[in-house]
């Protein structure tokens, strides 16, 4: 468990303290995939680097499994960092070392593993990230996705309990992003590893995260389970991210809605209710006519969800609302 207790960070620029992270309380549970989303400069990069103290905080305490890591001396800190893997947007592999040597590197630095142990572990990890055939290649000979898989293998070498991902998929194409995210999800499930992932893409959060924190201007402005934050965003920044990820143009949406008659509702289906043939029966029971203004069906991690924006005309609106709510559909009246 990672606990932030009033953690803050500011930088001295020209004698003035510029806050990068305002005092923040946050708890990341063991074994969860925790996403931190924000625009560049929002402070998410600082936040993730506080967890392994690449950036020391200027105030507050960081507890990891009830130990205050901000009290560590240099040697304790080095030992602690071996238990926290990290992967990066630009992979940061050593160009002078082969794939196998890159993966072995943290184990060699630790100085507590025998040659045989290192060799076995490297082979096991190469197989885990499907790169066994590339063991003796140099990073420059690999594609972006392959490089990131080397990065993941390297981060896992010393069997960490936490994996930090710093925009790990931002330099990858959509298809490769998907495969890397799948690998991360598999690792999280199989190894019970806690993953903290920062990204500027809500889509990444939607696919792999259990919970998410949204950052804006050095503050966590919204935090909660991904389905809550994603389907019912409260803060304007969060809304921006959700709209962005759905490629919805807000002005266009408003224009579309203004053309529709009657009441406008947004229905959110989650889990099993996504697949139920609900609208027809509600329409028959209540006598309302509806037209679909927009809609989408997708998954949040493994849970299916759907969101429909409808305009309703005629009939008994109350009966319709009741019937929808009775079927576990979240109803929001937009107009």
């Amino acid at each position: 468990m990672i606990v932030f207790d009033q953690v803050q960070k500011s930088y001295q620029v020209g004698g003035r303290a510029i806050p990068a992270l305002h005092p923040t309380d946050m708890t990341i549970e063991t074994g969860e995939v925790f996403g931190i989303v924000g625009h560049s400069g929002a402070g998410k990069s600082t936040l993730v680097r506080l967890i392994n103290l690449l950036e020391p905080p200027t105030g507050g305490r960081i507890l990891i499994d009830d130990e205050n890591i901000t009290d560590y001396d240099a040697a304790e800190l080095r030992a602690f960092r071996r238990k926290v893997g990290m992967i990066f947007q630009h992979f940061n592999l050593l160009s002078s070392k082969t794939v196998a040597d890159n993966i072995a590197f943290p184990m060699k630095l630790a100085g507590i593993y025998s040659k045989a142990e290192i060799r076995d572990r490297v082979n096991e990890l190469l197989a885990r990230v499907s790169l066994s055939d590339h063991a003796n290649k140099y990073p420059s000979q690999l594609s972006g996705g392959q490089k990131q898989r080397v990065g993941i293998a390297r981060a896992l070498a010393c069997r960490p309990t936490i994996l930090l991902c710093d925009e790990a998929t931002s330099a990858l194409d959509p298809q490769t992003t998907q495969s890397v995210l799948k690998l991360l999800a598999d690792i999280n499930r199989e190894l019970g590893l806690t993953i903290v992932l920062i990204t500027h893409e809500m889509d990444v959060v939607r696919r792999v995260c259990d919970r998410v924190a949204v950052m804006d201007a050095g503050k966590v402005v919204e935090m909660g389970p991904v389905s809550d934050v994603f389907l019912h965003p409260q803060h304007p920044t969060t809304r921006d991210f959700v709209f962005e990820s759905e490629s919805i143009d807000r002005d266009e949406l408003q224009a579309d809605l203004s053309k529709a008659d009657g009441r406008i509702l947004r229905l959110t289906f989650k889990g099993e209710s996504t697949y139920k043939p609900l609208l027809g029966s509600v329409a028959r029971e209540s006598g309302v006519d509806f037209s679909i203004l927009s809609g989408r069906i997708d998954h949040i991690k493994e849970t299916p969800y759907g969101q429909l924006t409808l305009s309703l005309v005629g009939g008994d609106l109350d009966i319709a609302m009741q019937a929808l709510q009775a079927a576990d559909v979240h109803v929001e009246v937009l107009r």
Partner: protein
């Protein structure tokens, strides 16, 4: 042919070439031994680097700059008392080596500093995140990553030392430069001059070629 190169004493040329090789080789060795750690320190003490030390950086940088800003021909003369103190003579092959190192080491140190700066900061950060100590970061990540640049730096330094070594002929340093000055210039033996210059050119070409090959071999980018 015989008449054209009438003044050329080939065994003299041979010895002079050997002397040049020894001067360049030895001074290169010491320049690397002194310049490499100096360059690493310059890098580490620099702004926003691992061991940021503004005062130490300023001092070290000043010394390097002073040695680099003195024209080598002056450095040769200024160094004479130190050279005598250090090895007993300021003449011959041995006497030329201390001023060559005084010129070569700071030059190489700057090249090392530059090539270390070109190592991606992300690699240093990643290595730090693995729990590496500063020593491990230097030897495990920084130097291997900067190796091609450092080899290129050694090549440039070696070539600079060839020309410096030739210059040391002025103060009786020995080697091809000495030959060129004593025979080629002072006795107007143009043929000796041409041969020494040709040999120096060949020498530099070979150094550059070998250096380039090594850089290519160690570049994995």
């Amino acid at each position: 042919m015989e008449a054209l190169l009438s003044n050329v004493d080939w065994s003299e040329i041979g010895w002079a070439s050997w002397d040049t090789l020894v001067m360049v080789g030895m001074s290169l060795l010491f320049s690397v031994v002194i310049g490499l750690p100096t360059g690493v320190l310059l890098f580490l003490f620099g702004k926003r680097q691992l061991l940021e030390q503004p005062v130490a950086y300023a001092v070290l940088s000043f010394v390097v700059n002073v040695l680099r800003s003195v024209p080598f021909i002056i450095l040769l003369i200024v160094m004479i008392p130190f050279t005598v103190m250090l090895i007993g003579t300021s003449l011959g092959v041995a006497g030329a080596i201390p001023p060559l190192v005084a010129g070569g080491a700071p030059f190489f140190a700057r090249l090392v500093e530059t090539s270390l700066r070109e190592v991606d900061r992300g690699i240093i950060e990643a290595t730090q995140a693995m729990g590496a100590s500063v020593k491990q970061i230097i030897f495990g990540a920084l130097l291997p990553e900067a190796l091609p640049g450092i080899i290129a730096g050694i090549t440039v330094t070696a070539i600079t030392l060839v020309s410096y070594a030739a210059m040391s002929g002025v103060i009786g340093g020995g080697g091809l430069g000495d030959l060129a000055i004593r025979f080629g210039y002072q006795r107007f033996q143009t043929d000796v001059m041409v041969i020494t210059v040709a040999l120096l050119v060949i020498f530099v070409q070979v150094l550059q070629m070998v250096g380039d090959r090594l850089v290519l071999y160690f570049s994995r980018k």
